[in-house]
Amino acid sequence: MSHDSHYTINFGPQHPAAHGVLRLILEMKGETVIDIVPHIGLLHRATEKLAESKPYIQSIGYMDRLCYVSMMCNEHAYVMAIEKMLGLEVPIRAEYIRVMFSEITRILNHLIWLAAHGLDLGAMSIFLYCFREREDLLDMYEAVSGARMHATYFRPGGVKQDLPLSMPQYKKSSWKTDAQLAKLNAARSGSLLDFIEDFTTRFPSCVDQYETLLTDNRVWKQRTVGIGVIDADRAKALGFTGHMLRSTGVAWDLRKVQPYSVYDQLDFDVPLGKNGDCYDRYLQRIHEMRQSNRIIQQCISWLRENPGPVLADDVKVVPPTRVDMKDDMEALIHHFKLYSEGLILPKGEVYSSVEHPKGEFGIYMVSDGANKPYRMKVRAAGWPHLSAIKELCQGHMLADVVTILSSMDIVLGEIDR
C-alpha cells in the first residue's frame, strides 16, 4: 500500500476525550484509522514501588488514586489481600458495609462513565443529569469517611467506623430561600442509611431519565451500534474482563462465579451483551446500575436489623479504641506499635481480586515477613483493554476512536499506576 496518502494525527495527551493523559498517534487514510500507537505512562507514579517503601496501612490511600472514579473497590482488593495473608476474619456487618459501598462506588463509576461517554459523543445534557446524582453519592462518601473521593475507608479487618447516625445538613445562607433549604435537607434529617435509602428509591427513575435521553436516540445508536465489535474468543485472548468481556456474551462476573465478601448472600443479576459493540456496553452499564441499586437496598435492610462490630477483634491489626487507651497499658502499646511500625504479614504471597466497575482488579502481594510489602503488583482492569485499542479501532472513522476509547471506560490513573 502506498503511504503517500497516509498522514498521522497526534491525539492527546491533553485532549478532553482522552480520559486523562493518554497520547495516541493515529495513522490515518482520509478519515479512516489505519494504525494506532498508544503512548501511556504520562501519569506513572510508581505506586507499586512507593507501596513497597511504606507500611501496609499507609498504602490504602494510594489505592484510591489508582482508578480515581472507583475508589473503594480498589481499597477492597487491597485490604482483602492483607486479610487473606493474615487469615483474618472480617465481621459480617463490615462485609455488608463494604459491599454496600462497593456498589455505591459502582454506580459512581458508571455515572461518571455515562456522563463522559455522552459528552464524548456530543450529548451534553446527560452529563448534567449524571452529576446531579453523583453529588448525593459523594455526600455518602463524605458522611462515612470525611472525604468525598479519596476515602481510605476500608481497613484491614473491616471498615474505619460504623455508619453515622446523622447526616450533615445544608446551612442557612443568603443564597438559598427557606423552601430551597428545606428541600435540600429533606432527606438529610435521619441517619446515613435513611439518606441512602431515599437515594435508592428515587435512583431507578433517574436511570429511566437517562434512558429516555439515550437508549432509543437515533444519533446515539448511529454512533454506538456496531462500533468497536469484538468476539468472545478474541476478548478472552486479549485478557478482557468486566464489561468488555460480558458484552460479547460471556457470563463472567467475579461476584457470581467466585463470590467474595457477602455477594453470595445477595440477589442480583448480571446483564450480558450479545454483539460486543459499544451500544451493548452502554446497555450493560445502565442495567448494572439498576442491579447495584438492588444490592444496596438489600444491604440497607440487613444493616438496619443487624448491629455489631465493624472491625475485627485483633489487636495486632486493628487499632484499639480511644477509650481503651485511657486506662489500658497494653492497648496503648498496641496503638503505638501499630502506628509506628505497622502490622506485619507472614511470609508468603497472595493474589486477591474483585469485580471492579471496569473489570477484574487484582492485587498480587509478596511478603518477606516485614511491615512493608516486598512486592506489590496491581492488575489494572483497564490495562488489557487499552492495549487492544489498535485492534478495535482499525478501519473505523476518527470519531469512532473516541467512542471506542470511552466505551472501554479507561482511567489512566489505574493504567499508568
Binding site: 499507609q58 485478557g239 516485614a370
Partner: protein
C-alpha cells in the same frame, strides 16, 4: 485444588508445585512455551486467559532496614536508608516472572512462576496469550527482562529516553535525575536529583512467636 494438582503432576512432571492460597507452579525458562501451550489447550486446564504478568526482584528479600536482633547489644540503631543486612534470605534466582492464569471454563486460577537465569531472557508468551504483549513491555521497562520474539519490545510506562530499570530493588526510590524547565536555555533540562531518600518507617522483620511457622495455608 487437589484435582488440579494431580493433573499438573501428571502432565508436567518437571515442574515444581507450590501450595498456598492459590496453586503455583515453578518452571524453568526452557519449558515455558511447552507448558504454557499445554495449560492453554489441554482440557483439564483450559487456561484461556493470562490475567497478569509481573516480575519480582528478590535482591533484598528478607533484609531489614532496622536490625532488631542485635538491638540490645548496640542500643536501638537509627533507621537507615540502605538495607543493613548483607545477604538476603532468598535462595532462588534474583528475578522471577510471575503470571496469573485464569480458566473461564474450569473456573480455576493458577500462578505460573518462571525462574530466570542471569541472561534475563525468556521466551515471549505473545503467541499463546496475546494479552501478555503489554505486560511484557512493562516487565522490560521496569525490570529489564528481555522477551524473545516479542513483536514490539519498547519501554511503556517511563519517560521518553529514560535510563535504568526503576522497579529493580537497587534503583533508588527518589531516582537518579530530576527535570525542570530552564528559563535561560528555554528548554527542559535533566539534573541529578537534589533530594535525599528519607525512610519514614524503617522496614522491620520480626521473628516473634507470632510469625514463626505461619506460612499461609489454605
Amino acid at each position: 485444588m487437589d484435582a488440579l494438582k494431580l493433573c499438573l503432576q501428571q502432565h508436567c512432571p518437571t515442574c515444581q508445585i507450590e501450595e498456598g492460597e492459590q496453586l503455583s507452579i515453578i518452571i524453568r525458562k526452557e519449558d515455558v512455551l511447552s507448558i504454557a501451550d499445554l495449560l492453554k489447550t489441554h482440557h483439564d486446564f483450559k487456561m484461556d486467559m493470562l490475567l497478569d504478568l509481573c516480575v519480582v526482584d528478590y535482591l533484598h528479600y528478607g533484609l531489614s532496614e532496622w536490625d532488631i536482633q542485635n538491638a540490645t547489644e548496640h542500643g536501638y540503631g537509627r533507621a537507615q536508608a540502605e538495607p543493613m543486612g548483607s545477604s538476603s534470605t532468598w535462595n532462588g534466582p534474583r528475578f522471577v516472572v510471575v503470571c496469573h492464569l485464569l480458566s473461564l471454563v474450569n473456573k480455576i486460577r493458577l500462578r505460573l512462576k518462571v525462574y530466570l537465569d542471569d541472561s534475563l531472557v525468556m521466551p515471549s508468551l505473545v503467541n499463546i496469550w496475546p494479552s501478555s504483549n503489554w505486560y511484557e513491555r512493562e516487565a522490560y521497562d521496569l525490570f529489564g527482562i528481555r522477551f524473545e520474539n516479542h513483536p514490539d519490545l519498547r519501554r511503556i510506562l517511563t519517560d521518553y529516553g529514560f535510563i535504568g530499570f526503576p522497579f529493580r530493588k537497587d534503583f533508588p526510590l527518589v531516582g537518579h535525575v530530576e527535570m525542570r524547565y530552564d528559563g535561560l536555555s528555554e528548554k527542559c533540562i535533566y539534573e541529578p536529583v537534589s533530594i535525599e531518600n528519607r525512610v519514614g518507617v524503617p522496614k522491620v522483620i520480626r521473628e516473634d512467636h507470632r510469625y514463626i511457622n505461619t506460612e499461609i495455608e489454605s
